[in-house]
Amino acid sequence: MRVGVIDYGAGNLRSVANALHHVGAQPVVSDDAETLLACERLIFPGVGAFAYGKQALVSRGLDRVVSEAAARKTQLLGICVGMQLLFDRSQEFGDHEGLGLIPGEIEAFAPGGGAQPLRLPNVNWLPIAPMSKAGGLAGRLLDGVTERSRFYFVHSYHAQSANPFAVARAQYGGQPFAAAVAKGSIFATQFHPEKSGPDGLKMLKNFVN
């Protein structure tokens, strides 16, 4: 299966491509809208700052690929900042508009109530708890996740676990947040499945099956 990886200059695309190869898919890393939209699945990766990612995406005209994929019901997997950019807006370093494909805001963790401030970014391998409503695409991708599964997170901002489109939650410093969200043909994770060892590869395999 051909899986388009949206190359907008944000992040380690080689890892995503290698992981796709590993699960038997054919990665197509590209910054060309038509090439990407011709693929059967899309991955919207991302690391770094929200505003930088948004600007990099728009300046290459690739925001259209994401919204067009949603309109055509092409299955799309957003990762980390790629997930966050799908939302309405983010509070990271000001107030920035996202792509508005998933209602809600990306917000900061609270400073933490203990003797020490909450250590940020949250750089940890954490368990995730799928929510009972996770059916359809989300149910397929979360298949095989157990309480022993661990996923690699690196982020300082997050979507609310109470968001109606959250399909799995995690917590850090006692604060729950959305580990994964799903809406229509879109599934997106705050963690990095391509960096989460066998548990992450299983999720990618579910995605390309």
């Binding site: 992040g11 080689r14 290698n18 590993h22 700052a49 909450l118 960096k195």
Partner: protein, 251 residues
């Protein structure tokens, strides 16, 4: 707590010494990285041990090879000195860069890396050596060259410049398997709100228990010798770390 395998690399070989001296060949970096990944480590650090001699990092092709079969975060360090170097490292497949000498020479590079690639990719690397007066000084070139910087002050400066994590290596404990410099860890951990990777000295379970008994655990430990010389498996260390984490949560 994350358990990270640290591979110090010289001329295509993983090497390990004691206090960063007397280096011995341990194995092939790509094969070792794969073996540690399959054994369950959370992350891998590749450190170019001779970068300062050649003035550049020579590990990019090793990262390219390793990341074909290793699906966990990869950190690369040694000899990276510009935004272009960082870009090449990330293109090769690294997720983060560990910067020591270049930050000492030009702290603004840290800020530039953080704003261009995100702070999650910018690991501030500190080689700390205990001084006669009980303080710690930051070193470069594998603990050989003093910088004149007090480690605790340097941590604050790195944090203000935008590092996303701190890799704290005790030169005194490196390769000794005699335990961490617990005082160094406590002093640094108390003043930073960034995740801390503690490196240098792990040799036995009691060394991790000693850290935990102090009431604080690092976000991660980086381990070389005990893995290289089969004194502990990643699996052992991860289950010990998980049980200490649970204890800390329950407390």
């Amino acid at each position: 707590m994350r358990v990270i395998a640290r591979l110090d690399v010289k001329n295509e070989w993983v090497i390990k010494g004691i206090q960063m001296e007397g280096l011995r060949k341990v194995g092939d970096p790509i094969e070792l990285a794969r073996a540690y990944y399959e054994a369950g480590v959370h992350e891998i650090i590749f450190m170019d041990a001779v970068a300062s001699l050649y003035d550049r990092n020579s590990l990019f092709h090793i990262i390219e090879g390793a990341c074909q079969n290793v699906f966990i975060p990869i950190v690369i360090g040694g000899g990276l000195r510009s935004l272009e170097d960082v870009s090449s490292a990330l293109l090769a497949g690294a997720d983060k860069v560990a910067i020591n000498t270049a930050a000492v020479n030009n702290l603004s590079l840290v800020s530039q890396i953080a704003s261009r690639f995100g702070s999650q990719c910018m690991v501030g690397s500190i080689e700390a050596k205990r001084q006669a007066d009980g303080s710690w000084q930051a070193y470069v070139d594998n603990g050989r060259e003093p910088t004149g910087l007090n480690v605790l002050e340097w941590v604050r400066e790195l944090e203000a410049a935008g590092v996303g994590e701190i890799l704290l290596t005790s030169v005194d404990q490196d390769g000794t398997k005699r335990g961490f410099d617990v005082e160094l860890f406590s002093a640094v951990n108390a003043i930073t709100s960034r995740p801390l990777i503690l490196s240098g000295g792990y040799g036995a379970r009691k060394h991790l228990q000693a850290l935990s008994a102090g009431g604080q655990m690092p976000n991660a430990i980086a381990v070389g010798s005990v893995f290289h010389y089969n004194k502990a498996t990643p699996g052992d260390l991860i289950s010990l770390s998980d049980s200490l984490d649970e204890k800390a949560l329950a407390a």
